[in-house]
Amino acid sequence: MDTRTQEFLEYVQGGGQVETADWMPDDYRTRLVKFIEMHANSELMGVLPERDWILRAPTLQRKLALTAKIQDEVGHAQLIYRVVADLGKPRSACLDDLVSGKAKFHNVFHYPTKTWGDVGVIAWLVDAAAIVSQKALLKCSYAPYARIMKKICWEESFHILHGRDVILALVTGTEEQFELVQEALDRWWEPLMHFHGNPIPADEDPMYVWRIKSQANEDARQQFLDGYVPQIRELGLEIPDSALRRDEESGRWLYTEPDWDRLRAVVTGHGPASEERLAFRRLSREQVAWVENVVLAEAA
């Protein structure tokens, strides 16, 4: 490693922050762009599983809350793509790569949403898993990204509240409504356990080394389990992993090892809803392409 890069490494590991115009090692820049781009893509793709339910939401309040949640996610995508654009990759290039399948987005958005129970589980637990990661990103060495994470984290907290409220209404409703939640949880548990990524040790994870991530994947997962397993169980819901338990001595959660090959397959576009969602995005984009031409026309 050359001196300049070594100094940069020590700087970020010491808590130093990097701004857009600062010099960055190529490796740092490349990984940074890829990571932030994946986050932007995830916010955008995350909209698709949920938006069908806006129409089907069973009360006016739920309809409004769900629309607002999805609106927040679109807003997050806007903020994050702006950060990527300032790093040199324009939004249109990101969207091209997204719809062509070249770029990745988080595993959880490759799965179908089958019932209103999914709406609750996603807003409550998927967003909870996301917020664990996002809080860690508040300390990202790349300052423009760290700064927007503040607004994102603040808005995500509303989503979790909304999600929990949906779940609570269902688990205190009819038996069928309770079952809706249990069944959704059964399907979403594996994607949730995959969410924080494979348990690579922090010092072997280049994202951590560069302090782009400030938390090891497994620590994030443990934090999620710590916070949410008790909350799930106290509602009388069963988590579909009989091996899941907290080791009293170490305080760490033990669980059935997730299938990491399956995670890899999902994020490379082979999830149950990946192709359909990308096709939908591609089509929507084509249909509105003319709008961009019109709005960019010079005013008379």
């Binding site: 629309t67 807003g75 806007q78």
Partner: protein
């Protein structure tokens, strides 16, 4: 103004706002670009918010709840104008409908703000204040579309298609005002057409209603959500 009970008037307004809000919320996540997506979603939410406030007033008249009025009627019992029922997930038509509706609504609300009934006058004022921003947004898009040949052609085509429906939003005596404003802005005259009035519904409404009530109907009436 056409004779109708207070409850019926409120339901007309509420149903218009509810279905238009729904149609507009269909763009959430897939609008032409992200900034517009966020802005348009707020407009859709405002509309549903208006619907809710109107349903709450109607619910007091009819001794029921806002949600029951919004969801638990049969399709033929809704009083919305056909304009808001159309599924037009195409941007030029969406903007045209948005602009036509907001203009018609402004005319309608002006009349209602002068109502003897303080509740009607009050809610009309509140809605009108919020819709100032909707009108600004619609006007901004209309201006942008009219600036280019392509945009102008698309907007005009969309307005012509939706024109009979737009007229149907308003009572007879308010229609000339709508025509005058739209023609004035476009700088051209629109054809004489049969307005598509309230009272008959587009086929799309029944489809929409099926999907919008599918979750709600899966539990007994009165179930909590």
């Amino acid at each position: 103004m056409q004779e109708r009970s207070k409850a019926d008037l409120l339901l007309e307004l509420a149903d218009d706002e509810l279905f238009l809000g729904w149609r507009n919320s269909e763009w959430t996540g897939i609008a032409p670009f992200l900034e517009e997506d966020v802005a348009f979603s707020s407009i859709a939410q405002n509309e549903i918010g208006h619907a809710r406030a109107l349903y709450e007033l109607a619910a007091r008249e009819l001794d029921t709840t806002a949600d029951a009025l919004a969801f638990d009627r049969q399709p033929e019992e809704y009083r919305c104008a056909p304009l808001v029922e159309l599924r037009r997930l195409e941007w030029a038509r969406t903007i045209a409908r948005h602009w036509l509706y907001e203009t018609a609504d402004e005319i309608r609300l002006a009349a209602l703000k002068a109502s003897d009934d303080p509740e009607i006058a009050g809610i009309a004022s509140k809605i009108d204040r919020e819709e100032t921003y909707h009108r600004l947004h619609a006007e901004m898009w209309v201006e942008r579309l009219l600036v280019s040949e392509d945009g102008r052609a698309r907007l005009n085509e969309a307005v012509e298609e939706l024109w009979p429906y737009a007229l149907g939003v308003l009572d007879d005596e308010l229609r000339p005002e709508l025509r005058s404003r739209i023609e004035g802005r476009l700088g051209r005259s629109l054809p004489e057409v049969e307005p598509v009035p309230r009272g008959r519904h587009e086929a799309e409404l029944a489809e929409l209603w099926q999907e919008m009530t599918v979750v709600r109907r899966s539990a007994p009436t009165g179930a909590q959500w």
